[in-house]
């Protein structure tokens, strides 16, 4: 410092210093203002854009982008605009690095997104260390709400148990469980393993007879060997715990092999159904939302989405859309971007329009959003249009049941916030 002082005594040097100080101040002032008021509220959005979850990630970005546009068109929140920073999360390592960079360098006010449970866990750890809010929109693993739960993480996506119980109710109703021999095909990674565990638990509890489970590599695209095996074993029911593009291809080929054994599964996305197509889609599946949901707010959302993106919305777009809209509502109602106030608001007795018949809410003890779910299966109507070759059931749970019957109880999936 003394060195600088002495050299600053030269007039030219002083001028230079003053100039750069003024320049630095010029940069620093808006930066300061940005953090305080007037500048945008920044949202770090991470989701897989490539790989087998990429198709869903694409919709996540469309949903999130539209939510931010709507928030800003309505004048923003607290007089500030929302700014979306969206990136491909790729894999857990990259997701962690990018989340860290968003928190530290970009100073985001919240993290939103993700589909892979493994990457979701990595982001949750960064969020917890930085005490930043993370609204996850696509990770299904029960452990993320149980053993690995975090005070800073909220779950817009349903957990595996919720999916299994939704399809389970449909199967029980149709008499497809008790005493029935069932075969399983499972995606060979964390999500699939967890889903198989929950499915098997449900089937065992309800008296089904387990035949076999095949773990299939996530990069497999051709399933003729498995399909021949199904024809050989002749079970009463085939359950899929597959993921992403696997689901599309397996469903298509199941239809191609014309297997007349009932087919169901505990995870489905609209991208997979559209990918399988009218002649390829088969089975009965649980889903968190479809464009056929009969609720006024859902219909309005479908119309807005179609106008904005020239295509129908699907379930992943809805989760990312809702996460940002709920975040905006929480900030507006608490008049704050402070993480503790927002957590208190989300944990509190507040419910949200989740584009379904009944409003949804976060359970305070594990931060799981509970909402109506649905089952979806091929339409009987042979003349159904290219967007409506599937039919969406009435909401599950039924109107007279608590929304919480699907999600695991505190005893089943213990969560302790550190």
């Amino acid at each position: 410092m003394t060195d600088e002082k002495s050299s600053a005594s030269s007039p030219r040097r002083r001028l230079l210093l003053q100039g750069s100080a003024a320049f630095a101040a010029g940069l620093a002032v808006p930066g300061f203002a940005r953090a305080q008021d007037g500048g945008p509220i920044r949202i770090g959005h991470l989701t897989p854009r490539t790989g087998f979850l990429g198709p869903m990630g694409e919709y996540a970005v469309l949903g999130a982008t539209m939510a931010v546009e709507e928030v800003n068109a309505a004048g923003g929140v607290l007089g500030r605009k929302f700014e979306l920073l969206t990136e491909d999360s790729v894999n857990p390592q990259t997701a962690s690095t990018k989340a860290q960079r968003m928190v530290e360098r970009d100073k985001v006010d919240a993290l939103v997104g993700e589909i892979s449970s493994a990457s979701g866990l990595a982001i949750a750890q960064v969020a917890a260390r930085a005490k930043t809010l993370f609204l996850q929109t696509g990770c299904n693993s029960d452990e993320l709400r149980g053993k690995n739960c975090s005070r800073y993480m909220f779950h817009l996506e349903a957990c595996n148990t919720m999916y299994v119980r939704t399809i389970g109710q449909a199967l029980l109703r149709d008499g497809m469980v008790k005493g029935k021999r069932w075969m399983a095909f499972t995606a060979d990674y964390a999500f699939g393993h967890d889903l198989f565990k929950q499915t098997k638990k449900f089937m065992d509890e309800n008296g089904a007879v387990f035949v076999s489970n095949d773990m299939l590599p996530t990069d497999a695209t051709e399933f003729s060997a498995s399909l021949l095996k199904i024809r050989q074993q002749k079970p009463d029911l085939v359950m899929s715990n597959l993921a992403g593009n696997q689901t599309t291809n397996f469903t298509k080929q199941y239809n191609e092999f014309n297997i007349d054994i009932p087919f169901a599964g505990a995870d489905m996305n609209m991208t997979s159904i559209w990918g399988a197509g009218k002649n390829g889609f088969s089975g009965v599946w649980p889903i968190i939302w479809t464009h056929q949901v009969q609720a006024p707010s859902a219909k309005e959302f479908v119309a807005r989405f179609q106008k904005r993106w020239k295509k129908l919305p699907e379930n992943q777009a809805v989760n990312d859309y809702l996460a940002i809209k709920i975040l905006a509502e929480a900030m507006a109602r608490t008049k704050s971007v402070e993480v503790d106030k927002i957590i208190a608001f989300l944990e509190g007795d507040n419910s949200f329009d989740v584009l379904r018949g009944r409003p949804g809410y976060f359970r305070p003890w594990d931060h799981q959003m509970v909402y109506e779910m649905y089952t979806v299966q091929p339409s009987e109507d042979k003349n159904a249009g290219k967007d409506d070759f599937m039919v969406t059931s009435k909401p599950v749970p039924a109107a007279d049941q608590s929304l919480e019957v699907l999600a695991p109880t505190q005893e089943e999936n213990m969560c302790k916030f550190a």
């Binding site: 198709p55 990630g57 990069d219 060997a225 498995s226 599309t248 191609e256 014309n258």
Partner: protein, 293 residues
Amino acid sequence: MPTELIFIVQQVANGLLLGFYYLLIALGLSIIFSLGGIVNLAHGAFYAIGAYLIVFLSDSLGYGLAFVVSPVAVGVLGMLVERFFFRRFYRADPTLSLLFTFALSMVIEQALRMIFGASPLSFSIPEFAHGQVIVGDFFYPVYRIGMLFVAIAAVAGTWLLLNRTAFGKIVKAGINDPDMVRAMGISLNPVMTAVCGLGIGLAGLSGVLLAPITGVQPAMGQEILTAAFVVVVIGGLGSFWGVVVAAMLVGVIRGLTSYFYPPASEASLYLLMLLILVLRPRGLLGEKFERLE
């Protein structure tokens, strides 16, 4: 026959059928390498273009016409790529063509993503090919049997072209001694253009055939390319019958692993490749290659 044995025979037969799909894509890869010395990492991307074309053209042209036009269009694209790009790399360091084709595959994949989106496009088996063939205990979808005949015809056609025509003689001579062919006053340039058109057109045809079975999505090329490389490496680079035998072997091994131990079904290809490379580095029927050895 005991039931277990019937199951196994079914899986073996299924593996042989799968082998033909591998063969179709691996064959083009192999002939482009044999003549031009180019390891075409963009081969899978052309396969994806074939799949997208049939989905896209079926709406306007109908399935039948689209089925013919799509592979031909991919072949023409292959000829253009040869004329304007591959040609620069025949005498260059192989690393350059590797880099170029790798970049080309990424450009194509991202272009497909930009134009059609990341979601798989829906495309189903045409109505006339629905149904199954049942012979005793054996059962198979009609479409896959149709695919098998198309694949056999394409492979047989390629063999006849390379072994029974004047064109094939020039190709073979070009592989053995390009300088002598030139000294005889025959230009290899149009031959290379035709060979790339053929090889890449075969990749397009595989895409057309597999589009109704596997998802039509931008990364589909990468998935199949790895398997195709395994087939070429096992068979021996540049060997027609080597590739044929390897494709069948890979199909059967994969089918049997899917039956007995499904988690290893994808890994089984690589284990087989490892084994072959250790025991016979040039591949099953590969000839000694000056370029490599």
